[in-house]
Every structure is written in structure tokens, then in C-alpha cells.
Amino acid sequence: MAKNSLIGGSIWEEYSQKVQDLMNHPQNMGELTEEDAKNMGGKLIIADFGAESCGDAVRLYWIVDEATEVIKAAKFKSFGCGTAIASSDTMAELCIGKTVSEAVKITNIDVEKAMRDTPDVPAVPPQKMHCSVMAYDVIKAAAASYKGVDAASFEDDIIVCECARVSLGTIKEVIKINNLKTVEEITNYTKAGAFCKSCIKPGGHEAREYYLVDILRDTRAEMEHDHLLAISNSKIEGSNTVNFDDLTIVKKFQQIEAVIDENIRPMLVMDGGNLEILDIKEGGDGMSDVYIRYLGACSGCASSSTGTLFAIEAVLQEKLSKNIRILPV
């Protein structure tokens, strides 16, 4: 709540021009038939996702070249609002020319980004993100159908939200891909929890086996765990798998020590001095404050609080992160 949220706007004002244009003139809307498949020498694949009773549904048609697995043509039909139509259209467009294995890697983020007018302004408001998730889900269904995976294996998937028919798998994936942090975001992205609300937390209309609050907590914990694993697996030096700023304090300490050992201590020691790291604190401003103490000859040296200090900071910033600040004690 604040100035901009007090006079509610129209969600249409938040649609990008691309979304609006696609809504008015979808490019890949239509059907592909057995006839078309024969003419193109490929296999017709049809996949459905969603349901009219849930507010949106999409049918995706592919013609796939069985020798190369390349999707030669893609079309869609969609029941849904403007953003559902635009998202389905973009999804079909992104499929064309890719192999089936490449196409399954298209995420809802790819679909949404492709509809932006400018790179950093979202194409649709948050509560419409579920339209792009639906586009992502229907690709997976099409791929499963192509690979001959029994459609039943999808139906076996645990349904968390009965109203919106959203599965546990989709919810966990969407949390991970989009780094979701709240139940409201899950609802915006998947529609789970938008209707009777029973699936949000215990105590609703009817008891459920899984609740969004628990899934969110467990998935976030899983993500945190994976993140820590990634960090500890990364090499201390020259690690580029994980950003320095995302590291734990212990890892930051190790990396800073390593850089100091290699690039700074030898010079100090030559002059009969040294330094030790006392503490590392994460400032609220995103900076890592490194508290150091000069030892031996350095402790009285006038330049230790100016020239040397800048040199140390510059080396660490260059090697690790520009968000490092050195504070002598």
C-alpha cells in the first residue's frame, strides 16, 4: 500500500504493446491436421492443458519431423483472457524450429520475456503470470505425448489445488524457476489457491493432503540446501559458479583469505608487517564489510589507513566483488 496502489488501475494498462498486438492479431492461432502432417512429412502431436471451468485452457498442435525431432510447425487454440491468448501465441512461436528436447526447456519466463516491449518492464501484471505458466505446461504435455510417455503418468501427478487443477510438480518447479517467495506469488503464477482457498493452509473449506504454505516452505528449504551445496562444491578460488555476494560468511572469509594470501600478504611481509581479518559483516546496503587489523610494522605506518588500504580494497574488489569494503580497526 502506498500512493500508487490507492487508486486501483486497470490491469489492461499493464499489458505490453506486444501482448496487446498479439491479442488482436495472434500469429500462430489455428489448427494442424493429419492432412497437414502428411503434407509436411511429420507426425501430428496434440496436447491439452487447463480447463474451461478453471478459466483458461489451451490446445497445442505440433508437426514434428521424426528423423530430426524438429518441430516444423506449431499452432494453438486457447480459451482464456488476452494474456492467455498472447502467451499461447508466443509459446507456439518459440517452439517452431526447435527440437522437442529443446522445446521442453522453454520456461514461462522465456514466454513472458519474449512479450516485453523493453527488457526490464514485465509484459503482464503479476496476477497474469499464470498464463505464461500454462504455455510452459502445455509444451511439456506435447513433449510427453511425442515421446510416448503414457498420459496417465501426468494424471498420477499429485494435484494440490483441486479448483485450478495444479500439480505438486508444477508448483515446485514454478517456485524454483521464478524464485517465488510468497503464497500470493504462487497463486499469481499458477492460480493455485485462487478459488476456494482450501489448498492454501490447513483450516479451509476442506482438508487437503498438501498445502501451499508447506510446499513453499519445503521448496525454499530445498533451494537453500541446493544453493549451499553449489557453494561448497565450487572451488575457493576463481569460482564462477556462485557469485561472491551470495556466499555464506564462512565462504566469503575463505575466499578473502585466499586472495589476501596470494596477492597482498607477500608484499606486507616483505616490509615486516602483516594483517588479520577480524570479522565480516553484511551491511544492509548489500556491501560486505571486512574488518581488518594491521600487524607488525604496518600498524604504525601512516599509509596503512590510506594508500595500502585502497590497494587491498582494489585487489579484493577486482578478484571477488565490487561490493567489498575494507574497514581497518
Partner: protein, 396 residues
């Protein structure tokens, strides 16, 4: 051409209403409570407005029509003050309402529920109306209030207010009705119907926004919602909104004068539009024409999601509304649609068209043409009508 078919959301201010209001902005701007002439010079107009309001719903002089800032305030006031006056002290513990009330009633009841009040939400049939039998069965010795709307904002369906009023009187329960969608569309006569409280709002009958009223029968006590400077006989404080009150009075007078026009002309255009749309295959209207206020159509357009329909209409200059989930800020599907509940699909394919006495025949002809074309275009996109070979097992 731009055509406004969303008159259940709000209406154009009648230019005659506007003209009456103008002098009370820059000429007679005094506070009517002041002793001097600047204040008192607006009194004749205020008295006239009150006369127009009393006449409009046929209230007696012993009754109160308290001016409020909107019907949302009126509804909140009744429900929350009933809580203060009858429930908090332990005398009563129960309120009865319906599943299809406007949120101003529904959310107020939900709030009281969170404070421990028992609330019964009466279900509706597929036409969106409650059953009088259900009401009879729901009333107990500890029921403090029955709050049931006169006409529904989405469907236009008229509720059996006379019967409900009689039951409440017989059982000694206070009765409030949200008559926002009835006033100015059908006759509302508080002498014919036993209501203790009745809410209305000027902007739904060609008056200004941000002004409404609460009718209170014959001195019925109700703690104030707004405490303060003892305006409105101490029932609702706040400096009188003179221009808006004057405008609401005039709007009420004009609306009541136009009731016959509403019943005949608006109804004829509404029916013309409805009949034309029903020529399109797989369209369904909620409720019969007779049971509805004369200006409203709620129609389900199979295979077309409501917001997509609104989009196409808006591209062609037509403003309408939908009960569908997607168009609202929240994703929830419309509770009225859910309550009617025949088919879940209806919740997402509804289109609400609401006319007014300012709607012209040319506008209706234009709207018929635009809607027909939109249905063709959007059904061509829709997966509901999409091709699939025999081997494909549809999952939609």
C-alpha cells in the same frame, strides 16, 4: 461510436442533475450549519432534496433518510452497528444474508464472523435468487438481522423482498435491504414492504458519485457509524455535502419520473439486445426477463472467456463488464457466478450488459453487430471449438 453498457457499475450524471448542483459550489458554498446567511441560503435546496428522496421511496415523515457518503457506508453502518447494539451485549449472535450480496454487505458479514458472530449465507438457485423457505428455516431466536439485497448487481434478478419483509416482521427480526440496483430501475415503496433499513446510492441512478443514503424506519435505534458534530440529527456526522445532496434529490425525482420509461423503453431495448444475442448459438441468459430489473442482461457466451470478450468490445468502443475471474484484480471467480453454480464454466464466460435511459436504439444496434463479430473472432481462437482427430482424448 462509443457505447456505454455498464450502467450497473455507474451511470452518467443527468445534465439536469448537474445543472441543479452547480450553484452550490461557488455561489452558495456556506456550511449549512452556520447561523449566517452564507450557511442558511442552501437550506431551501436541501429541504427540497430531502422531499424528493422521501417521495422517491415513499417514506413517512417519521422515518429517517440519513445521507451517507455511499451505499458501502450505509451497508457497513447497518451491519456493524447491529453488532454493537444487539450482539456485543450478548442478546443476539446471528445474522442472515445471501451468498450473492455486494461485497459491501458480504465482506462486512465476513468481518463480523471473524469477531465470532454466526452468519448464515443463504444459497441461491440457478436463477440467482434465494428461497423464502430457506430463510424461514434459518431464522432463530438469536437472529439479530436479515440483510438481503433488493436486486442483484450482476444478474439484475429481483428478490422476493415483500415476502422476506413479511417473514421478518412475523418473526420479530430486523430487516435490511441493499436496494442500490433497484432504486431508479423498479418501484421501491417502503410503505408496501416491511424494511427497517434500506441502502441506496446516487451514482447508480444518474446522480453524482460519493453520495448515498440509509433509510431507517420510524425512529429505529442504530448507533452512529460516524460520531462527531451532530449532523443529520446526530445519526451521521460530517458537514453536509450540499451540491451532492441537491444532485441526489434531483436524480431521485427524475429516476422515479422515468420508471415507466424504464419499464417500457429501456426494457424494449434490453430485450432487443437479449433476443439478438440469443440468436447466436450456445448463449445462455441468467433468469427470465420478467424477474429482472429492466436494464440488465447477464449472458454466458460459450467458449469465450469474459475478459477476452471485454477486450474485443473495448477495442470497438463498447464498455461492458464480466463476472469472470480474469478481469478482476484478484483471480477469484465471481462469487455470484459460483453461487449460481449450475456449470462452473459460467463463472468465466459471463458478460454483463447494463443499459440506462440514456441508451439509444442506434447504440443497441451497433452493440449487437460488434458482439456478433467478437463472438465469431474469439470462438475461432477458442480451444472449446478446436479440431482434434478421433484418436485424441481431449483433456479440456
Amino acid at each position: 461510436m462509443r457505447v456505454y453498457l455498464d450502467n450497473n457499475a455507474t451511470t452518467i450524471v443527468d445534465p439536469k442533475v448537474f445543472a441543479e448542483m452547480v450553484p452550490y459550489f461557488c455561489q452558495m458554498y456556506g456550511n449549512p450549519n452556520s447561523l449566517h446567511e452564507f450557511g442558511s441560503e442552501s437550506h431551501p435546496a436541501l429541504r427540497k432534496a430531502m422531499d424528493q428522496l422521501y417521495a422517491g421511496i415513499n417514506a413517512s415523515d417519521e422515518d429517517d433518510i440519513v445521507i451517507t457518503s455511499c451505499a458501502t457506508e450505509s451497508n457497513n453502518w447497518v451491519i456493524k452497528s447491529i453488532y454493537h447494539d444487539y450482539i456485543l451485549n450478548g442478546d443476539k449472535d446471528h445474522i442472515i444474508t445471501s451468498e450473492v450480496e455486494h461485497p459491501a454487505v458480504g465482506a462486512s458479514c465476513k468481518f463480523l464472523e471473524s469477531l465470532g458472530v454466526k452468519v448464515t449465507y443463504l444459497p441461491v438457485n440457478t436463477d440467482g435468487v434465494i428461497s423464502v423457505e430457506d430463510l424461514k428455516n434459518a431464522i432463530t431466536d438469536t437472529t439479530a438481522l436479515v440483510s438481503i439485497m433488493w436486486a442483484n448487481n450482476e444478474t439484475g434478478m429481483i428478490f422476493p423482498i415483500e415476502e422476506i419483509g413479511a417473514i421478518c416482521k412475523e418473526r420479530g427480526v430486523l430487516f435490511h435491504t441493499d436496494a442500490v440496483q433497484a432504486v431508479g430501475k423498479i418501484p421501491v415503496d417502503v410503505k408496501k414492504v416491511n424494511v427497517d433499513f434500506l441502502s441506496f446510492s446516487a451514482h447508480k441512478f444518474h446522480g453524482p458519485k460519493g453520495i448515498g443514503g440509509l433509510y431507517i424506519r420510524n425512529g429505529q435505534p442504530l448507533s452512529p457509524f460516524f460520531h462527531g458534530g451532530e449532523h443529520m440529527g446526530g445519526r451521521r456526522s460530517g458537514t453536509l455535502n450540499v451540491p451532492s445532496i441537491v444532485g441526489m434529490g434531483k436524480a431521485m425525482e427524475l429516476a422515479v419520473e422515468a420508471l415507466d420509461f424504464e419499464k417500457n423503453n429501456v426494457r424494449r431495448l434490453r430485450d432487443k439486445l437479449e433476443d439478438a444475442l440469443l440468436q447466436i448459438p450456445e448463449m445462455m441468459v441468467v433468469g427470465t426477463k420478467e424477474q429482472r430489473v429492466p436494464n440488465t442482461i447477464l449472458i454466458s457466451v460459450k467458449g469465450i472467456e469474459g475478459e477476452a470478450m471485454l477486450w474485443d468490445l473495448n477495442q470497438n468502443g463498447i464498455g461492458a463488464s464480466t463476472g469472470s475471474a480474469c478481469a478482476s484484480e484478484a483471480l477469484e471467480s465471481n462469487p455470484v457466478m459460483e453461487a449460481i453454480g449450475a456449470e462452473a464454466d459460467l463463472a468465466h464466460t459471463a458478460l454483463r450488459l447494463s443499459l440506462s435511459r440514456f441508451t439509444t436504439e442506434a447504440e443497441i444496434d451497433f452493440a449487437i453487430d460488434v458482439i456478433q463479430k467478437a463472438v465469431v473472432r474469439l470462438r475461432a481462437i477458442s480451444s472449446t471449438y478446436a479440431y482434434a482427430p478421433e484418436w485424441h482424448v481431449s483433456k479440456l
